[in-house]
């Protein structure tokens, strides 16, 4: 796949726009997007596809007034668009434009006797490190699928805590203490469209913020080309088509750019398999996100860095992609990283004990028997255990009980991983500056199956990690660290009310009712558990926890009492006096486990727990814009509505140091008591 599971027709790829049915004349196309933006010195593969021609001569390629023809290789025959015929590809790999400018890139040649030309208008943006030599850092937090509702739900769980005296920290609609990401002074919204679809995935969205350019679904920092049809049309993704996934034009990401040009330290931290899409966009280049073995190899032998390691810190799951048993090529990448001076850790205990800035590979989860899959591109995913299960909380009735943690019982939480990553990246007498991506991955992975508890607690874990970075940045003697929090894309969860379903119903797996209905896709069978009043899953068309049923006949599909089937409830709610177990007034209120610092999901003794009620519309991504919050130098740039590709350029601008005017404005607003301040912030 890895195309999202969508229920809409994809938008025609503009790259193939000029290739119309019946067009047979020679033509050339530069494989760059219409709106290509690059930093000065940022590397990109320049690829020309010449269609309907056996031979090309007289090539001339200019970038503004500079003739760059000599950088191109000889034309090579190619099979493009799965159309047969005669085609050519002409490449100049890893090119860059070193002068900031609005630049016209033009390619002209004679193809089978016909003069053909194409051009692109490029924006080359300036980039220089601060003149005073004081390098800045960036920590980019990605809550995977963490749209607005996910933040809201995490706030309504994590910050609605009832103390021993019964006082709720959420009262009369105000919180005593907002989430860490809520407290960041600057916020905006990010549009997340891909180059080929309204609803994106983690790969092409990640490519947007990592490279400043959009690409197509499932692609990691690689632009579309004419050989993609070999594997995208019929899903034939295996070792034989891997060459067609790796021949796409690559755009260098900010992590490699900073390391290559300025010696920055770089890192990725994730609760997913470390070769999953969101970390992959910081360290690899492939048109297919599931080419995991290749991605892992590129972490070690990065093509932008002359085969040097992409990162100084890699933390997450995914041991299988790095061990000989999990790889078709039999390489032991763990050993190879160690041979390059990396330390290797596999448990939270090991991680807590690391002290110095030695590059570190931390892989905290694997499968019992690693092996490459039949496609030969990857071993099985080994994501880290989600926060809810690491905490040992009891899953609500409709959410699957996790597999045993045998062998991987000592997995770190995301805040520890973040703390240690920052320590490794920032230590040293004259640290060179660092850029780090931290991902809360299972906000998304739990949302796909509509596991409300799983996704909400993962968001809380993510927020605690944000807190670690904020504290670290605030303690810096000079404010030199930009912290950005955003999502790659949204999913469909909404906050729909409050439920006071008792634990006995919420947790009882033995009690359910079966519903079935006929849809366009045939008969759908749904099992309804007691927690449905807290989690209106996408498959439950009639249960609406926010309704009280007291509506006109035309709106009968609201309220628990109107849901079809019967789910007899064994216990009346104690407070309020209602037997529908659904309210939309009042607030949730959770207990805090002081040992873990996380809310529990069961009622304290003698109490009735009120939980936030959420609902899902689908089990997939959506195309809605996502919040961005920022703090630190350059944070002011992250205001208003922006494109996701802007995040790349805004992070880069922060690193240049040229942000004093805006920083002063933000600080003035923050500290001046004339201006209103949000309670809890």
């Amino acid at each position: 796949m890895n195309n999202s599971r969508l229920c809409r027709i994809s938008i025609l790829c503009t790259l193939f726009g000029p290739i119309l049915l019946g067009q047979t004349a020679p033509n050339v196309r530069i494989l760059l997007p219409e709106r290509t933006r690059l930093l000065q010195g940022q590397q990109v593969d320049l690829v020309l596809e010449v269609r309907n021609a056996k031979a090309a001569s007289g090539l001339k390629v200019t970038a503004g007034t500079v003739d760059i023809t000599a950088n191109f290789a000889k034309p090579a025959a190619a099979d493009l668009d799965c159309a047969g015929g005669n085609n050519l590809v002409i490449r100049a790999n890893l090119q860059s434009f070193d002068t900031p400018a609005a630049l016209k890139l033009t390619a002209t040649m004679t193809a089978d006797g016909v003069v053909v030309t194409d051009s692109r208008d490029l924006e080359i943006r300036p980039f220089q490190l601060p003149a005073d030599g004081h390098r800045r850092n960036v920590v980019l937090f990605i809550g995977d699928a963490m749209g607005t509702a996910y933040r809201d739900a995490a706030r309504l769980v994590g910050r609605a805590i009832v103390d021993a005296n019964g006082k709720n920290s959420l009262r009369e609609g105000f919180f005593d203490n907002l989430l860490e990401m809520d407290k960041m002074p600057v916020s905006g919204m990010s549009m997340t469209y891909g180059s080929d679809s309204v609803v994106p995935d983690s790969a092409n969205t990640g490519s947007s913020w990592a490279t400043g350019n959009k690409t197509f679904l499932a692609s990691v920092n690689s632009l579309a080309d004419g050989t993609d049809c070999k594997w995208r049309l019929n899903g034939q993704t295996n070792a034989t088509t891997l060459p067609f996934m790796l021949d796409n034009p690559r755009v260098e990401n900010l992590w490699q750019y900073l390391k290559r040009r300025f010696g920055y330290r770089t890192g990725i931290v994730t609760t997913a398999d470390v070769t999953d899409a969101t970390p992959a966009v910081e360290g690899s280049y492939s048109a297919y996100r599931q080419s995991r073995a290749e991605i892992a190899q590129q972490y070690l032998e990065n093509p932008m860095l002359n085969k040097q390691p992409a990162f100084d810190v890699i933390f997450g799951g995914g041991i299988d992609q790095f061990v000989a048993a999990g790889r078709k090529d039999g390489r032991n990448l763990v050993q190879e990283f160690q041979d390059r001076g990396f330390r290797y850790v596999t448990t939270a205990s090991d991680l807590k004990n690391i002290l110095y800035g030695q590059p570190t590979l931390g892989l905290f989860r694997g499968n019992a028997r690693p092996s490459p899959n039949s496609a030969g591109l990857a071993a099985t995913d080994a994501n880290m255990t989600v926060a809810y299960d690491k905490l040992g909380l009891p899953r609500p009735a409709s959410e699957a009980v996790p597999n045993s943690l045998t062998g991987y019982a000592d997995q770190p939480m995301l805040d520890l991983m973040t703390q240690k990553a920052i320590e490794v990246l920032s230590t040293g007498f004259a640290p060179p500056g660092f850029i780090l991506m931290v991902e809360g991955a299972s906000i998304d992975k739990e949302s796909h199956p509509n596991n409300a508890a799983g996704t909400i607690w993962d968001t809380i874990e993510f927020d605690k990690a944000v807190g670690v970075a904020r504290v670290w940045a605030a303690k810096r003697p000079v404010k030199d660290t930009l912290v950005v929090v955003t999502a790659d894309h949204d999913q469909s969860m909404s906050v729909i009310g409050v439920s006071n379903i008792p634990d006995s119903e919420y947790l009882d797996r033995n009690k359910s009712t079966q519903l079935s209905f006929t849809s366009a896709r045939g008969d759908q069978a749904i099992t309804v558990f007691g927690d449905s009043y807290t989690n209106a899953r996408a498959g439950l068309p009639w249960i609406n926890a926010s309704g009280n049923g007291d509506f006109a006949a035309s709106r009968v599909n609201t309220g628990a009492q109107y849901s079809p089937g019967t789910l007899p409830l064994t216990q009346k709610a104690e407070t309020p006096a209602s037997d529908t177990y659904v309210t939309y007034s009042g607030f949730p209120g959770y207990s805090l486990d002081r040992n873990t610092g996380y809310p529990t999901n069961t009622a304290a003794s003698g109490q009735m727990l009120r939980r936030v009620a959420v609902g899902f519309r689908t089990g997939d991504h959506t195309g809605t814009s996502v919040p961005v919050t920022a703090e630190g130098p350059g944070a002011f740039l992250f205001t208003g509505y922006m494109d996701q590709t802007d995040i790349f350029f805004k992070m880069a601008t922060s690193l240049t140091g040229d942000t004093a005017d805006g920083d002063k404005f933000v600080d003035t607003v923050l500290t001046d008591s004339r201006y209103p301040k949000t309670p809890g912030k």
Partner: protein
Amino acid sequence: MLQFTLNESPQQIITLLGRPSRIDDSVAGYQSWQYEFSSDEQLDDNSPPAWFVCLSTSRHEILSVTRNFDKPQNVDSLLPDSRTAVHYWPSKEAAQFSVRLRQLPGEVLLLAMGTAKPGERTTQIILIRRSALKTFMPWLAEQLR
């Protein structure tokens, strides 16, 4: 899988598989109809579509049907040993990938991707017109010549 002959019309595909979740028509002359996994199979962002139906819009025919499994499956019942050949990419001597292949009537091939022996499990099987091999698997077309 064997319910397909690859001569089905679009309406017949819908009857067999339902409406696709997504249609990719970004490549001229082709449509790729893609179907999600059913709810009892595991799915997330890293799951491929459960089915791909690749159609040639210029020739008005199905070129291939691909079935992906979320967990590796034993497909020996579809590829009886006596009717199955094994092919290696790029060659048997330097094999990096293998497919088990069964010839079906009507110049249609059934492929179990990434397997070489009975008992080996796969996450993908493909039903494909022999005429489409030159486009999508030229190495296999060459070996079958």
